[in-house]
Homo-oligomer: 198 residues x 2
């Protein structure tokens, strides 16, 4: 089934039915590349735009969000996409009915909302920023309301999203871990955090 799609997606592992799994830290597509739109089914995707001095953080996409919609208009991506956690995506927008006004309006609305969420990650103390990021990532996973295990992104990514340095992020997480505010598990390569979602 998946063979029907033009798979320009790097690092993707075909999981049948057109789904693709991308490992934490791997790129999904690059800016300027030709390709189509995707819906994020699981995990968190980081979007980067080419700024004056190299790529700069330009947005986040959570489970349920659509990425690469600009290709339906332009044919190629304006952002680069990377998986911050293990990610699953499926093609989107290929089917004509999906490009209905209602669906597009829905995508537009969640995009605006997500943009505000992302902006809020750069407000307040390091504690607040990191807690908000984790809460946000948790929302993308929680189907019911409860306790969710969130894969911790690389410190470098957390730093760039929150507008802090890696050192500050490291120190903050260490402190939150000590005070019991955060329950971090796993070895340094693959860490997870328990987050309460409301």
């Amino acid at each position: 089934m998946s063979g029907k799609h033009d798979l320009r997606v790097a690092n993707a592992i075909d999981a049948g039915e057109g789904w693709h799994a991308i490992a934490r830290g791997k790129g999904i597509y690059e800016a300027g590349q030709a390709g189509g739109a995707w819906r994020v089914m699981l995990g968190v995707v980081r979007l980067d735009r080419i700024g004056e001095e190299g790529p700069e953080f330009g947005g986040l996409a959570l489970a349920g969000d659509v990425i690469g919609a600009e290709t339906l208009l332009l044919g190629s991506y304006t952002f680069a996409a990377r998986a911050l956690t293990p990610v699953m995506i499926e093609p989107w927008g290929a089917v004509a009915e999906r490009a209905s006004p209602e669906v597009l309006l829905q995508a537009l609305t969640t995009t605006e909302d997500r943009a505000a969420d992302t902006l809020a990650l750069r407000n307040g103390s390091p504690d607040r920023r990191i807690n908000r990021l984790l809460a946000l990532m948790g929302r993308g996973l929680a189907h019911g309301r409860k306790l969710v295990r969130v894969a911790l992104p690389q410190l470098r990514d957390i730093a760039e999203m929150t507008g802090l340095t890696v050192e500050t992020v490291s120190r903050t997480i260490s402190r939150l871990k000590e005070t019991g505010e955060l329950d971090v598990r796993g070895n340094s390569r693959e860490r997870q955090v328990w987050v309460t979602v409301k």
Copy 2:
């Protein structure tokens, strides 16, 4: 003509043909309010979302951008909108043809792009942030490429958008003015800056 529209817009001055002029600093609509979508024809609009502790900055809209599109789906606004500079808006999306997939995709694409622009306002030194903000505001006005006169928002607004304090913004602008990097004109109530757009 404009009487046909349901005018829930506060502080709006009917300018004929459904256009509305809003003065610098005035609110356009509030979150939760019923209403429709608008296209910004002139000026810069600040969008705010209700956060955990009061309203927080959630995005920017420049000339050409669509605001309040969520109402086409939800019926009411999720953001509040305020004019940072003198603004003109016209109703959008009421006409069925305007909700075509192409137009919605266009709106979606520019929204994502604008979100990245807004995010970038919180990167780098105060100088860089303020210069980027002014450049961004200039882009919304420049039809050809040239020198553009931009109305300076209130310091409080600049501060909240860039993630700085009013004092830092005041000092930074004063310094840029001294070094000749910025040409600020007008009295304190209504100041303008000359910005080069590329």
